[in-house]
């Protein structure tokens, strides 16, 4: 790559949608590149978003690769950069560089049943796969989405999930009973167990808090999923995005280059330093 990989392209915030409010607020930013700059990406890849004067953060791209006009990022307000991002308005310009990392091997999954299992803001990294699968609906078998939040107010992509129904089996859950909630109450791994998706010709894609992932994988294995049928993403602190700064190094891998997408077969051989 002859270009300066550290220099971000400029993107204008075209729309901001508040997904979740409160202390762990999540907003979805639609960013359009300025000056005809930009890049294409694959499902699962990330981009480094800059707020000048604050710093950079690695964020997974939540829009599907076939959406060319903009990139979408769903970001939880958690630190210096993300707080600054949440304070921005439509029209403000940020830096975006990328795309970084590997991808979900979606092409290899054609004809298979896809089972998505997300928790909290962990829906965002796998959302491009959901979108791609729905966009090319006839190429895939059954599509099932399990998704849960702490409460009904913590469910992101609410409208989008509603729209999926019909094409896709959607099973929402919240941790504790609430009035007016007609979905499942309890943790996501338990919800998966009650619906017991079949492992035949299936791929499971999961992302969420580490503890959720741990139990989801345990349960999937009980349901007969092999290690190479389970995919997840991991994260580490990152600075450069191109495998040089050494920060996201886990074993011989750099998460920003060799990750963030891992099959459980590959991930279980990696040291647990993520």
């Amino acid at each position: 790559m002859s270009q300066n990989a550290y220099l971000p392209k400029l993107g204008r915030i075209a729309a901001i949608k508040e997904e979740v409010a409160g202390a762990r607020a999540i907003k979805t930013f639609r960013i359009e590149f300025v000056n005809g700059d930009g890049f294409e990406h694959d499902c699962g890849q990330c981009a480094m978003i800059s707020v000048f004067g604050k710093g950079e953060s690695m964020i997974s791209i939540a829009s599907a690769p076939h959406v060319k006009d903009y990139k979408q990022f769903s970001i939880m307000r958690t630190g210096r950069v993300t707080t600054a991002l949440h304070d921005l308005n439509v029209g403000d310009v940020v830096g975006v560089r990328g795309p970084y990392g590997n991808k979900f091997p979606v092409k290899d999954w054609k004809g298979k049943n896809l089972i998505f299992i997300g928790g909290g803001c962990g829906l965002a990294p796998i959302w491009p796969v959901v979108q791609t699968a729905v966009n090319e609906r006839r190429q895939f078998g059954n599509i099932t989405v399990f998704y849960g939040g702490r409460s009904s107010r913590d469910i992101m992509y609410r409208n989008e999930l509603e729209k999926l129904k019909g094409d896709v089996d959607v099973h929402l859950s919240i941790d504790a009973q609430e009035e007016g909630w007609d979905g499942y109450c309890g943790f996501v791994p338990a919800n998966v167990m009650t619906k017991a998706p079949k492992a035949d010709n299936a791929i499971a894609i999961t992302c969420g808090p580490p503890i959720m992932i741990k139990y989801v994988i345990q349960n999937l294995k009980e349901l007969g999923f092999e290690d190479d049928m389970i995919y997840t993403t991991i994260e580490n602190k990152m600075k450069c995005g191109i495998g040089k700064c050494g920060r996201c190094n886990v074993g011989k891998d750099y998460v920003c280059v060799n990750g963030p997408v891992y099959s459980w077969a590959a991930l279980k051989d990696l040291p647990q330093e993520y």
Partner: protein, 344 residues
């Protein structure tokens, strides 16, 4: 002369009886002449313990590290940990106790006398031996070191190769201990206390700035001085202003609003601030173990900087860090007679 065999036997019996969790002491290193700190939990391994003039490190640091590790591992072993402590180490432990860093009963202090001679300065020794590699250094009476090289043993006057701090040491004997080995020689005073600082103070102010500016410019910001200091126990240091102790209930705002006092760049202004903040934070707490200066890979005279305020504490406020664990600290106390004339 200190009886190392008795020291080993004491450590062994403590571990055999199970009255301590571990013994923090010194053992021979593979990396060079200086001893290495060792945390020994196995009674049989106490035979590795040594005590000679190569035992330079301040082991009070490992009490601080031990506490951090216990919090992290959620250990519920309530037994004390034993630590071998020279005069300066014991003063550091006293300051930690004074600041209630840990309770007195959580530490068993094995005091060791560094006799009349203190510890060795590896750089001075290397010069003295003119290229020959020292294999071992031992106490040799109260005024000399016995040094072994390939050519055999020789006796060298301790004052010639002794660490600077030891030459100015005001209380060489442990001030606090549960058990002491070696002869009680508290007065050494080979040099007048604060001699180096006073000498530097005589310099013109502009020259002093030129001197310090050059030193700050050379700093690598490896933070070894901070890491080795038993008094630098803050969970969160001003230099790590972005990354600080985050608890599950730390909010995004708290993380975002963190003040970045110092940039990471090794620029003179930032490095000056780093070293000066450390000097201020050490005022009335620095026990002059001079570990900061010893570990500095580029030889920045940090002891000179940090003892400046110790001199003030001692001479202006009659305050001697590490002498009394029950006294109020320097900056949490005052007297009506404190200097006032500098105020307008």
């Amino acid at each position: 002369m200190i009886d190392v065999a008795a020291l080993k036997a004491h450590a062994k019996s403590l571990l055999e009886k199970g009255s301590v969790r571990a013994v923090i002491g010194y053992r021979k290193s593979t990396a060079g002449l200086l001893a290495e700190p060792a945390t020994i939990a196995d009674a049989d391994a106490t035979d590795d313990l040594i005590f000679d003039p190569t035992c330079v490190q301040n082991l009070a640091l490992y009490l601080v590290n031990d506490k951090k590790e216990r919090v992290h591992s959620r250990s519920d072993d309530k037994r004390p940990i034993a630590v071998v402590a020279k005069g300066c180490d014991s003063r550091a432990i006293t300051v930690l106790l004074q600041e209630k860093h840990f309770p007195r009963e959580s530490v068993h202090v094995i005091g060791v006398s560094c006799e009349g001679t203190g510890v060795v300065d590896a750089r001075k020794l290397a010069k003295k031996l003119d290229g020959k590699k020292a294999l071992s250094v031992n106490f040799d009476g109260s005024e000399a070191f016995s040094i072994t090289t390939e050519d055999g043993a020789q006796s060298i006057p301790a004052a010639e190769v002794m660490a600077e701090r030891c030459l100015e040491c005001r209380s060489a004997h442990p001030t606090l201990s549960d058990m002491t080995f070696g002869e009680a020689k508290s007065e050494r005073a080979l040099h007048a206390p604060f001699q180096a600082v006073k000498h530097k103070m005589k310099d013109e102010q502009d020259n002093r700035w030129a001197f310090w500016a050059r030193q700050f410019d050379r700093c690598l910001r490896c933070y070894a001085c901070r890491s080795v200091c038993p008094m630098c126990y803050c969970e969160e240091c001003v230099v790590d202003s972005i990354n600080f102790a985050v608890l599950p209930d730390t909010t995004a705002d708290e993380k975002a609003d963190r003040i970045k006092w110092i940039e990471r760049s090794p620029a003179r202004s930032e490095t000056a601030m780093y070293h000066m903040v450390r000097a201020i934070h050490l005022a009335g707490r620095c026990v002059d173990c001079a570990e900061c200066e010893r570990v500095c890979p580029v030889n920045i005279p940090l002891r000179l900087l940090n003892t400046r305020l110790e001199m003030e504490a001692f001479e202006t406020f009659e305050y001697n860090p590490g002498s009394d664990m029950n006294a109020p600290t320097l900056t949490s106390s005052f007297r009506d007679t404190d200097p006032n004339s500098f105020i307008r």
